[in-house]
Amino acid sequence: MDENTVFIKKYRESEIPPVNESEIWRYSGFLGKQNEISRELKNAFEEVKKETKGIFLYAVCYRRMTVAWENGAPSLPFGSHSQSLSRLLKNCSEIIVFSATVGLETDRYIAKQQKISPLKALLANAYGAERIESLCDKFCEDAKSLLDGEGLSVTRRFSPGYGDFPLETQREIFGLLDCNRKIGVSLNGSLLMSPSKSVTAIMGIKSEICDKEFENKCSECANKNCGFRKQEIL
């Protein structure tokens, strides 16, 4: 594998799973039962869907790199250390570093709705979050089936800021992926990404089946009171 090349993958909307509405309600802070959602509220989201038709871009850039192990610690193409990442990457010989975005138009739409309807802004924000997660899911799914062919498996994705994986790693990931040139994602001084609905993450590649303990992406997070926290899988 050529470690030096950053590949770009762009998806058509039809390749991404359709919106998962229960995620929209979860991201927008609705924790009740789905049948409690009023018609008016549902209509508001329908309007958002209509008005954002075609504005999402589904772009990913990625790089596949080898990982050397020394004294039980992985040597990674960035300086920061993270125990939770090391745990995830146990027995991995390679990683995929990637960045994904659904584009800037989402931010523009949200900003516009902030001035017109804060409710629709909230729903659009949730929609953007759901879309970028769906894009990442799709990309990881594809990587998984591709690597299946090589007799390899992948871990779940892990992003700077998760567990003890420092947010500062963002700078190095941006250096590795040339995200701005490849898919138009940039990093600002506070390590926030623009467009805001963008993700950077790392996946491990190994020759064995992955551990179940990492399947729940909330399991490594220290914020136990988070309203968005997914229940532990037992």
Binding site: D2, N4, M65, K115, L123, N180, R181, S186, G189
Partner: protein
């Protein structure tokens, strides 16, 4: 011979990829390729020389990322110096007999500019300026700005190049499959802006292979009056047996490039994945093509950050509502820094279908330069229409033109020497379509003949400044017919001559014609139709006027400008009914006798229209303050309590808040009639702290606080501590809300609190945001940590009741 001389009669061949060749030569992951100018000069010289040998006329120095964000001062200078020297050595070594030039290569800084990023426009200009100065000092022949994926960033690089070097400027942008830049601009929009800025060549590079850029090439050749550049990738990289290969080979690449050169591309080369083979193959295939002459397309257009608006046959509507003249509420909004009010005027007009927004914020008691800049900046964050910058303050004009994202309209210049001396240099520097008033030192001439004379004088003077006729649009000045019943005729005659004999575009502020007369709308609509028939290109108008909109759609349908009358059919219905009927009919439906509890119910259920209609009805017999206290607040409390009990959630809370807001709109209007009334519970300054650009949570707090009667001064996002303190002192506010989303921006929150405690010690600070906790809040010295909007309200109301937040 300069590259510009050579370009006049010759095709110009550029170089191909640099980065992809360096990778083959062992560039390590994370290694900055620009350092190789110093560490491996022989490699760089060799690559350049091979391009010259392959037939390149212009090679780009290895400085794509050589900017002050990546390298410090002395290293930056060393890198650019060696880069230029390497290129010069390659030129000496090459056996190629063609004229050879060295371009200082400039790529994007990689930071997104405000409002969607945090990088300031002027900071970007300064960064580019450093690179430009060094490149010019060491003898580059031209500047090649490339792979830019944002229009405003492109503008920053061009301004730096124009200001700090006297070299030809080529500009090339990176388009996606959708034919747009990452941030949305189309080729036409880029051509409009870059021609306005006075660059020497424009075009596209990188991101796609030559075949996928067909649409982009077509657009460039259609709109550009400048030589067009094309420098595509060798297709897309693919991994084959562990090797990276690009899927378009030299033969295919050069065949497609040859076709484009036949179509009119004048400057060609390759980007990622191409090498000297691609270049020599292309040179061989185009060597016998005689270059297509470059002609002025004579297209008049302006642009926003997404698209261009062309002045052609179909009339252009310029919304006039962002203007304080004669508008009490608008003036008050400007004085209170209430930008949202102004933005709303923009949104409403966009909704009504105008193509351009006029922006005038001239009011004697405000800082016009500051306000005009801010309003245009905020408008460009949420509205993608081009703007017409309307001010008589030349400094305000320049400051706003400088940061405008696109090519704006400039309102205005006139036949006075002084006016032309002030405005034309700005047009030359920043680009723009200028509104030219046909008046001069002697006032407005009474005859068409004399107005046309002034127009001619303006055209000639503009020409002397290097501004072409296509960038002038003439206002033949419609004065009211109530004072002079020949005035409409004179304006029409003038515009007819300017359009048909001087071949210039024309514009009118249509509604002036009816000043002082009853039912002005009717006269305006008729005059508009007459003016259009006489050759009017654009109208500055009120899109709320049914008569104007009727004229517009009718004219287009009647003149064959509306295919199948589709626009007419789609839009005319809403203008067909008399205006005041439409307004009156809404509340009638809800004229239920038990409206009082109905209002509460409407708010609790989050029914916006209903809440507004019921409030209007209630206001006929009840006092506004009573409605607030006995209806709206109790309704909000019901929702607020169930939100706190977790039986209602955020989206529902917001729905109710929006319904309450729509009720408040009506209440406020009523209160304006009797200014001694007030619903204010107190003042509240609100901001997302410096470095943070997330503001959804902050805006929710704003909405709910307003619902409960607080006067909210919203400073927006990414707000520095000083600005927050200034606003607190200016408005004499005792309560401040700060929001931060990221751990990395909490320190900015701490700084803000420190400064507030120093300069405004009796202020109480509420903090909130995703990463905050009670411990965090305590450690940075906040008075209160609110986990949501309702907690902010409760705390604030408690302070009000205990009298602590009073002035």
């Amino acid at each position: 011979m300069t590259v510009l001389d050579y370009m006049k009669n010759n095709l110009v061949c550029l170089d191909g990829g640099m980065g992809t060749i360096l990778q083959k030569n062992g560039l390590m992951p994370g290694e900055l390729p620009e350092r190789r100018n110093i560490t491996h000069p022989e490699q760089i010289i060799d690559i350049h020389r091979r391009y010259f040998d392959a037939g390149s006329n212009v090679i780009n120095t290895n400085t794509f990322g050589a900017n002050c964000l990546k390298f410090n001062g002395s290293e930056l200078e060393d890198i650019i110096k060696s880069a230029v020297e390497n290129a010069k050595k390659a030129r000496e070594l090459s056996a190629g007999a063609q004229p050879k030039f060295i371009a200082l290569d400039i790529g994007p800084l990689g930071r997104l500019l405000k409002p969607y990023g945090d990088f300031d426009f002027e900071e970007a200009v300064e960064c580019y300026a450093k690179t430009v100065k060094i490149g010019a000092k060491y003898g580059a022949d031209l500047i090649f700005i490339e792979t830019m994926n944002d229009s405003l960033d492109t503008k920053a690089a061009v301004l730096a190049s124009k200001t700090y070097a006297d070299l030809p400027i080529f500009v090339s942008n990176a388009y996606g499959e959708d034919g747009k830049l990452m941030t949305g601009a189309t080729p036409a929009a880029m051509v409009a802006m870059l021609e306005g800025l006075g660059v020497d060549a424009v075009g596209a590079n990188c991101s796609l292979g030559p075949a996928q850029l067909a649409g982009v090439v077509k657009e460039y050749l259609k709109y550009s009056s400048l030589p067009v550049i094309l420098k595509p990738n060798a297709g897309l990289p693919k991994s084959v047996d562990g090797q990276t290969v690009y899927d378009v080979k030299p033969n295919e690449f050069s065949n497609i490039m040859m076709k484009y050169v036949n179509d009119g591309i004048r400057i060609f080369g390759g980007c990622c994945g191409t090498d000297p083979e691609y270049i020599s193959a292309t040179v061989q295939k185009v060597k016998n093509i005689s270059p297509k002459q470059i002609s002025d397309k004579n297209i008049t257009m302006v642009s926003s950050y997404t698209h261009a608006v062309e002045f052609k046959d179909s009339p252009v509507l310029i919304g006039e509502r962002i203007n304080p003249t004669g508008k009490k509420m608008f003036k008050e909004a400007l004085r209170n820094n209430d930008i949202d009010y102004v933005l709303n005027e923009g949104l409403k007009q966009q909704e009504k279908g105008v193509h351009i927004l006029d922006v005038n914020v001239g009011l004697p008691e405000i800082d016009e330069k500051e306000t005009l800049q801010r309003v245009c900046f905020e408008l460009q964050a949420i509205i993608d229409l081009p703007l017409q910058i309307d001010t008589s303050d030349v400094q305000a004009m320049e400051a706003t033109l400088r940061r405008y994202n696109g090519k704006p309209m400039i309102n205005s210049v006139n036949g006075k020497e002084e006016s032309m001396r002030a405005i034309f240099p700005l047009v030359k520097k920043y680009g723009g379509l200028v509104v030219c008033l046909t008046l001069d030192e002697n006032g407005i001439p009474e005859t068409a003949e004399k107005r046309v004379e002034i127009a001619k004088k303006i055209i000639n003077t503009a020409k002397a400044y290097g501004i072409s006729k296509k960038d002038l649009i003439f206002d033949s000045l419609a004065m009211t017919v109530s004072a002079d019943n020949k005035s409409a005729c004179t304006a029409l005659e003038t515009l007819n001559i300017i359009k048909n004999e001087l071949k210039c575009h024309t514009l009118l502020g249509v509604s002036n014609v009816s000043f002082g007369l009853p039912h002005r709308d009717i006269l305006n609509g008729a005059f508009f139709t007459l003016a259009l028939e006489n050759g009017l290109s654009a109208a500055i108008m009120n899109p709320d006027s049914n008569e104007m909109m009727k004229s517009y759609y009718s004219f287009k349908a009647l003149k064959g400008l509306d295919r199948n009358c589709a626009d007419f059919i789609e839009n005319i219905e809403k203008y067909a009914r008399p205006q005041f009927d439409a307004v009156k009919s809404a509340p009638a439906e809800d004229a239920a006798p038990c409206a009082e509890s109905e209002l509460q119910r409407a708010i609790v259920k989050g029914l916006k229209e209903k809440a507004s209609a019921i409030t209007e009805l209630l206001l006929e017999k009840a006092e506004p303050l009573d409605i607030v206290n006995s209806q709206i607040i109790p309704a909000l409390d019901i929702v607020g309590k169930s939100f706190e009990n977790k039986t209602t959630y955020l989206p529902q809370l917001l729905m109710s808040a929006e319904a309450a807001s729509s009720a408040f709109e009506k209440i406020k209007l009523k209160i304006k009639e009797n200014p001694s009334n007030t619903v204010s519970k107190g003042k509240f300054v609100l901001a997302t702290v410096k470095g943070d650009i997330h503001d959804i949570g902050k805006n929710i707090v704003k909405l709910i606080m307003e619902n409960y009667g607080f006067e909210v001064y919203d400073l927006g996002k990414d707000v520095p501590p000083e600005k927050i303190v200034d606003e607190v002192l200016r408005t004499k506010t005792k309560l401040v809300g700060l929001s931060a989303l990221m751990t990395t921006t909490v320190p900015a929150m701490a700084d803000t609190i420190r400064l507030l405690r120093e300069k405004a010690p009796d202020v109480k600070v509420i903090v909130g945001g995703a990463v905050l906790t009670q411990e965090y809040a305590d450690s940075i010295g906040a008075h209160f940590y609110a986990k949501d909007a309702m907690e902010t309200v409760r705390y604030s109301l408690n302070l009000v009741e205990s009298g602590e937040s009073n002035e």
